[in-house]
């Protein structure tokens, strides 16, 4: 499973299935500061993911 981080780096994880909350927790990312898409579609953080899912974590804070 591919995880695209807010800084565009890519992590591959083997754990399957796993919740997005748990992934964010492991990455020390506060869920209130991001939105997360699975295969291009927005999903809540309590979604279970796995297999060939591509997960993108998008930081929402934007000064200005």
């Amino acid at each position: 499973m591919k995880i695209i981080l807010p800084n565009s780096t890519i992590n591959i994880i083997q754990e399957d299935p796993v919740s997005i909350t748990s992934i964010l927790d492991n990455l020390n990312i506060n869920p209130s500061e991001v939105i997360v898409s699975r295969n291009g579609k927005l999903v809540p953080e309590d979604t279970l993911i796995g297999g060939d899912d591509e997960i993108r974590i998008i930081r929402i804070a934007h000064g200005g």
Binding site: N30, S32, S37, K41
Partner: protein, 312 residues
């Protein structure tokens, strides 16, 4: 109604229909699909406008439009609510501070959105206003970036709004921004600013400011735009790292995550304090700046004081 898994709380369906959810929201706890999220956000913005009487017939609303997510959401929402009001018009105003590697992208995004929504769009730059861009003004004083930029941005917006004939200035401040401001003013011990509301000005000297998104969280706004393919993927302002707001934002969002409702409670506290404090106690008599003649509380307005300190 779909209650989700009673053990994990996880839901594979929207609380209101059978579509897949895109967001989980607290208070009340619910999962919403894209269509219900869009409806929920727009209804709450409309309710804020109606309950606080932010927009009246014949208003011309100048939207402070950076091209970032909050002002983009504001523009989209107001353009959709527009038919409900009698003879109200919108104009988007973008301030180009002159921040290399940042503002050009957001201005391009702003132009695309206004074109798509067919909303009148005007730009005003710091160079027009003061003769230099922000990057030049800040050489050797980068840590003052947000206060210098804030003063000039307010002035630029006001100049452009007056020129456009606006009767209100709408900003994209969201629930998170409002809670951060309460905490920042408290940390600074700034009670006058804590109880002052920009829309309460009765002097007639300033264009009243309105915040239609003040009850909507930053995350809801981001999700609202993302599900409509309108989320602007833009760089963060390079000066943000110098801001107290950044520290407060990080602290508050951690508190919100751990103790949901923290942000709303902060705003509730501010409103409770407002009830017991007479804002006129803090308001100094309105004077005119001795340089430019603009209304202000001291001898010089903030812009002329800044000009003086910058040697401009």
């Amino acid at each position: 109604m779909n209650q989700g898994n009673p053990v994990t709380g996880r839901s594979e369906r929207c609380t209101l229909c059978s579509e897949p959810p895109v967001i989980r929201l607290p208070e009340p706890e619910r999962h919403l699909c894209a269509a219900h999220l869009i409806a929920d956000v727009e209804e709450r913005a409309a309710r804020t406008i109606s309950e606080r009487e932010l927009i009246k017939s014949h208003d011309r609303i100048a939207i402070a439009f950076s091209g970032g997510k909050d002002s983009t959401a504001l523009l989209v929402i107001l353009s959709r609510l527009l038919p409900a009001w009698e003879d109200v018009s919108l104009v988007a105003i973008t301030v180009d501070e002159g921040i290399a590697g940042y503002r050009n992208d957001t201005i391009r995004a702003a132009e695309e959105v206004t074109k798509k929504l067919r909303i009148e769009h005007v730009c005003i730059s710091f160079t027009d206003l003061i003769g230099d861009d922000l990057d030049t003004l800040l050489i050797g004083r980068e840590t003052q970036a947000c206060s210098v930029c804030g003063i000039l941005r307010r002035k630029a917006l006001s100049v452009a709004a007056h020129k456009a004939g606006a009767t209100k200035i709408a900003t994209g401040h969201n629930l998170d921004d409002e809670a951060q401001s309460v905490l920042m003013n408290t940390l600074r011990g700034d009670l006058p600013r804590l109880v002052r509301t920009s829309d309460a000005d009765s002097s007639g000297c300033f264009i009243p400011r309105i915040k239609p998104l003040a009850e909507i969280s930053e995350k809801e706004i981001a999700a609202y735009l993302f599900v409509q393919d309108m989320f602007p993927f833009l760089p963060e302002c390079p000066y943000t790292r110098h801001a107290l707001r950044l520290e407060v934002r990080t602290m508050l969002s951690a508190m919100e995550q751990k103790h949901p409702g923290t942000m709303r409670n902060l705003i509730k506290s501010k409103r409770a304090i407002e009830k017991y404090v007479d804002p006129s106690v803090f308001s100094e008599p309105l004077r005119r700046c001795r340089v430019c003649g603009d209304p202000c509380s001291g001898e010089l307005c903030q812009v002329c004081s800044l000009r003086k300190s910058l040697g401009k």
